[in-house]
């Protein structure tokens, strides 16, 4: 080999070694989520993060929603799993924290926690030690979708009170339009359906009485609010007992139904499915004129750091970045979700309106307060609500089942 060739080979080897050394210095971390549909948006966000932190690369890994708890708990039990884990909130998170799977976050390790409002932090806090384990990522709002074109065509105005809702629904039905698209065929949504229509009749005082132990779900206010749901049956599609939430969404976006009790998490999806849709998202009917409009709000989950992660520092750095305004602005714009981060600017008009409604929102009572032990309020309510709507049990029975079931672990309900 000539000297010139040897020199070239040496130079090439040095260059390759330099590249390899560069790769070795970079940290690869993974982000686990159930949001398969958000892959493109998250990859764009992570590209921004890597631009600011060139030594950290984030890999997006998603798993089916229905099996996500099983997959995550199995992986974490074996000391594996993503470095950053997308978590649900409240009771879902708590079982993982109890097992020691997540790293606590504080202002030293995640300074952007300071950007979170207090009610959002509750969603990611373990009740026993008051420490945050998951940085909240989005609030979800439950309310009423309005198909404005259908209302305009029918010459009607969207209702704001219960009485108006009944009057308008009767008129829509006479015109051959399904007033309310919902059915009872999807258990997880049935619980949201209950929250949407009962919360305006319950109010913050009821929540306060319930959580301070002054009352239970047997309270006449709750039973009466459940009774209101029975009135809705006349305005739901025929065979509503078997109509699932996906079908309800299709009835709404296709204009066959005028209203849909739903979640702000579907705004982006409905727009994608029918770009021409002219819709609004409003508070469900108030008990009476002059009441404060009350949507239902809860925090969907957050970002937690795997306690067994080999790249904890990089993972915490990512989570901290996900709590910044820069992330929140782009997150809301790309995914149509409302970031809880203070100061986030929501440019979309409808989403900004939903964020405004959130200011007077009621909490999703079961999710926020009664999903911490077994039996959860959710499994009790989801089991009974279809029976109540089909008439095989009364609102009183549902309220009693819910209270008595929760009394197994919720001390304020015991003996009441």
């Amino acid at each position: 080999m000539s000297r010139r060739r040897m020199g070239l080979a040496l130079a090439a080897a040095s260059f390759a070694w330099g590249l390899a050394a560069g790769v070795a210095h970079a940290t690869d971390i993974s982000f686990w989520t159930w949001r398969q549909e958000d892959k493109a948006a998250y990859n764009e966000l992570f590209a921004d993060f890597t631009k600011a932190n060139p030594d950290i690369h984030v890999k997006f890994e998603s798993f089916p929603d229905e099996n996500y708890p099983t997959i995550v708990s199995t992986a974490l039990a074996a000391g594996k799993g993503g470095d950053v884990i997308h978590t649900h909130a409240y009771g879902w998170l708590e079982q993982f924290v109890k097992a020691g799977y997540f790293e606590p976050q504080d202002l030293t390790t995640v300074p952007s926690l300071a950007n979170q409002p207090a009610d959002a932090l509750v969603a990611g806090t373990y009740r026993a030690d008051k420490k945050v384990y998951s940085l909240p990522f989005a609030s979800q709002t439950l309310g009423l979708f309005i198909n404005k074109d259908v209302f305009a065509k029918a010459g009607l105005t969207p209702p704001t009170t219960w009485d108006e809702f009944i009057t308008v629904s009767k008129a829509l039905k006479e015109k051959g339009i399904y007033p309310l698209a919902n059915g009872m065929g999807t258990s997880w949504f049935n619980e949201m359906f209950v929250a949407i229509f009962t919360n305006p009749f319950l109010g913050h005082d009821f929540v306060s009485d319930l959580t301070s132990g002054k009352t239970t779900f047997k309270d006449p206010r709750y039973v009466a609010a459940l009774g209101k749901l029975l009135e809705l049956r006349d305005y739901m599609p025929p065979g509503f007992e078997g109509i699932d939430y996906d079908t309800a969404g299709q009835l709404f976006i296709s204009g066959k139904a005028a209203m849909l009790a739903g979640g702000s998490f579907d705004i982006a999806s409905y727009r994608t499915q029918n770009p021409a849709i002219n819709m609004d998202f409003v508070a469900p009917p108030m008990a009476k004129a002059g009441d404060v409009p009350q949507v239902t709000k809860f925090f969907d989950g957050g970002y937690a750091v795997n306690a067994k992660s080999a790249n904890k520092a990089a993972a915490l750095k990512l989570v901290n970045w996900m709590g910044t305004k820069e992330f929140g602005d782009k997150f809301s714009a790309l995914l149509g979700n409302i970031s809880p981060i203070k100061g986030v600017v929501i440019k979309d008009e409808l989403l900004a309106h939903v964020a405004k409604l959130n200011e007077t929102a009621m909490p999703h009572i079961n999710v926020v307060y009664f999903r911490f032990e077994k039996p959860t309020g959710s499994e009790l309510l989801q089991g009974d609500i279809t029976k109540m709507m089909s008439g095989s049990i009364t609102p009183d029975q549902l309220a009693a089942d819910l209270t008595d079931g929760l009394a197994k672990w919720y001390k304020p309900f015991q003996g009441k």
């Binding site: 159930w34 929603d65 229905e66 099996n67 996500y68 708890p69 099983t70 708990s73 974490l76 039990a77 649900h88 009771g91 879902w92 708590e94 079982q95 993982f96 924290v97 109890k98 097992a99 020691g100 799977y101 059915g183 009872m184 065929g185 999807t186 258990s187 997880w188 619980e191 599609p237 025929p238 065979g239 509503f240 007992e241 078997g242 109509i243 079908t247 009835l251 999903r371 911490f372 032990e373 077994k374 039996p375 959860t376 959710s378 499994e379 009790l380 989801q382 089991g383 009974d384 609500i385 279809t386 029976k387 089909s390 095989s392 089942d401 008595d404 079931g405």
Partner: protein, 311 residues
Amino acid sequence: MNIGRRHTTKAFPWRRSLWIASLLTPALVVMVLFVLWPLLSAFRLAFYEFNGLQPTGFIGFENFRKVLFEQPYSGWTWNALKHNIIVFFALMVFENGTAFLLAYALLKALPGHRIHQVIVFLPVVLSAVIVGFLWKLFLHPLFGLVNQTLALVGIGAIPWLGNESTALGSILFANIWHWLGFPTLVLLAGMQRVGKEVIEAARLDGAGDYVLMTRIIWPLIAPSVTIVTILTFIGSFNWFEIPYVMAGLTGSPGGATDVLGLYFYRTAFGSTTTGIQDFGQGSALAVMMFIIVAGVTAIALRYLRRREIEL
């Protein structure tokens, strides 16, 4: 060659044992890892309390007491068990009863019997998930084929899967549609083994179809009936895929389609929308399911086999 091989085996018996052991080892390893170990783990975990996702202490039979005697768990357990029992008897009567009649019709080799044999067996090759989705669509209250057809004769939208009184029956129907071909083929094979001379002799004695079916063929296909009964029992108590796809993890509406398989799964592994996981109670349910299936299968096999010998 044979003599040579026999000679080698006799001379080195340990080689033959080693050879057999090497053939059995992979299967044994798989069985131990994926069947025996999970089974023993479930037995162990059934006696532990869980706080979050980790066992916190030995609690004896407490998990069993809760799922059997403490409300609301006991109500859910008995409700699910009741549905498993209903499913078993319904499948025995409607699925296996129809299969017997179909098998007899196919045995008679009527014109077109070969194509019918294929048609009857065709759904069996489909995945349970596909069948579940297919029938969920057919039974959709607004757009489903069934209600659209009924609408032609003026019958309004029936929420087949949303009504407590029709949901389990609808799912059973889908299951029967899916599996009908299997017992039909097993029973047909049994019927084909009945000697022609026996059938001819019965015919000569003046036996008609009914007598032939009930007095000659039915008793003589006892081994096939044993297999079909045992498999139906095991299938009924392990029922999961079709109810999961058609009615969801909660056995909706209101637990009307809940079975032990669904109840076990959501207890042990939780669900994003109902909350938390409890491996302790879940394992207790799994152990109970194992005891029911293994115990009843053993007893039934003994009884049914004896019946075969008596013939």
